[in-house]
Amino acid sequence: MTEPLGGLRRTLPLAFVAIVAVGTLVGIRLDLGPGAGPAPAATSLHADLAELGRGRVLVGFDADIGTYAEIRPAVRAALAQLVRGGATISMVSYTPEGRALALAELDRLRRGGVEPGRLLDLGFHAGAEAGLVAGVSSIVPREADGALAAALRDAGAGIGAFDAVLVVGGNDLGPRSWVEQVATRLPEVAIFGIVPTSLLPQAVPYRASGQLAGLVAGAREVAAYVAAVRDDPTTGAVQGAAQVTDEPPSSLPVLVGLLLTLVLLAEAIASRWRAPARGGAA
């Protein structure tokens, strides 16, 4: 006997995407915001990055393509804040995915008018955690040139040559790996992190213990941090890469999607409960 709801079940994924699409379009048309509430972690990261001023910041860019959409607005806001403050930005990646995204962001910063002397591409470093440990003593590649590369070599050429590290997480080598491999060897270097919701349970204990100097984790804190950078009263009119142009998505489609997921989950659990009952009756 064919399942009476079989046809309906087959259309569920399409219906799911269609409903989330309607939520997204309504959010775009009505310009609904992400609903940023108070988030002390976001305010704290904003204040800490502002204090770096013209310092040397290393961005450990190992985002995951599957979750980068969630943290991208915060990553760009952090880069915009660093550009505004006059910091130099050096990017390094330890995962292939992170490298692809880092290249795209470096290109975006260059297109946004950041002076070439303030950007340094440290490239992809193989070896995963062993590569991170090697970076403690040497992270500037031989082929890197320019004043920034020279200054870093003068300061030791390792991660210790930087004033702070901003870890963009999502992949295997996120803030946890940086805390375990780098912070234990260079406790004086402040490590900040931006991670998606899926890494929140893993990363938050390091914020609570103080091993991470700052952390923005999850959609709510991302929205709060972007709002903090965008509405910063201490900066005047800014242009190019110093602007905050990437806003977090509206929370409407996410809320709709979560409700639909709950309905589908409940239906799946109910059908499992019904199945033994039918078997028993037969």
Partner: protein, 214 residues
């Protein structure tokens, strides 16, 4: 807007390619398997090409071949690494122990870095963090007690293959439920991340591609 590609002609072309690839991937939603298979193969092929390019351009040439070509005697570690890599690649045609040596070094070094870092950077500091500081309030003390209880239950859940009393067995079962709850919560977080990704893709199609809402 994703803004990962420029607004010039190349950027427009890339936007169209990305939009069409997204729609082809979603064709599985209406039961069209063939376009979905094309995009899967396209992704696999591009990923393989990208990884090969990354390895050659950013690792093998600048960090192995160039230094060795310039001053082979000055880089004994690179020579050793090259020898181990050669042993690994040629292991299929050589005695088994030859291939086992680089694998053993690889596994041993990875485990040493990961376990050493986890112990010094995570386990010990987090245990210290659990201990209530002198003068800590009741909320912090309660949090520490709950954390110790949860950690103990989860550890008991890993007691396999030993005769357990009724109490330990019941606590181990409770630990398994606690773990299940943790996995469920993590899956919930993952769903949230994926929903943001879906919404972002839909917004990309609507704004970057179709120009709605600009």
């Amino acid at each position: 807007m994703t803004d990962l590609i420029g607004p010039d002609g190349g950027g427009t072309l890339a936007t169209w390619v990305a939009a069409i690839a997204t729609l082809l991937t979603w064709s599985i939603l209406v039961g069209a398997r063939r376009p979905f298979t094309w995009t899967q193969r396209l992704l696999a092929g591009m990923l393989t090409g990208y990884l090969a390019l990354l390895a050659i351009r950013e690792v093998i040439v600048p960090r192995l071949i160039s230094p060795l070509a310039g001053d082979p005697a000055g880089h004994p570690l690179l020579l050793l690494g090259l020898l181990l890599a050669g042993m690994l690649v040629a292991g299929r045609w050589l005695p088994r122990w030859v291939g086992a040596v680089p694998v053993a070094i690889l596994v041993g070094a990875t485990a040493a870095f990961a376990l050493g870092g986890a112990m010094v950077g995570s386990v010990l500091p987090q245990i210290v963090g659990l201990l209530p500081a002198p003068g800590a309030g009741p909320a912090m003390a309660a949090g520490a007690v709950i954390s110790v209880a949860v950690a103990s239950l989860v550890l008991l859940a890993f007691l396999h293959g030993r005769s357990q009393g009724r109490v330990v067995g019941a606590l181990g079962a409770a630990g398994r439920w606690v773990m299940l709850g943790g996995v469920g919560a993590w899956l919930g977080y993952l769903v949230l991340s994926r929903l943001v990704l879906l919404s972002d893709r839909l917004a990309f199609l609507a704004t970057d591609w179709l120009g709605l809402g600009r």
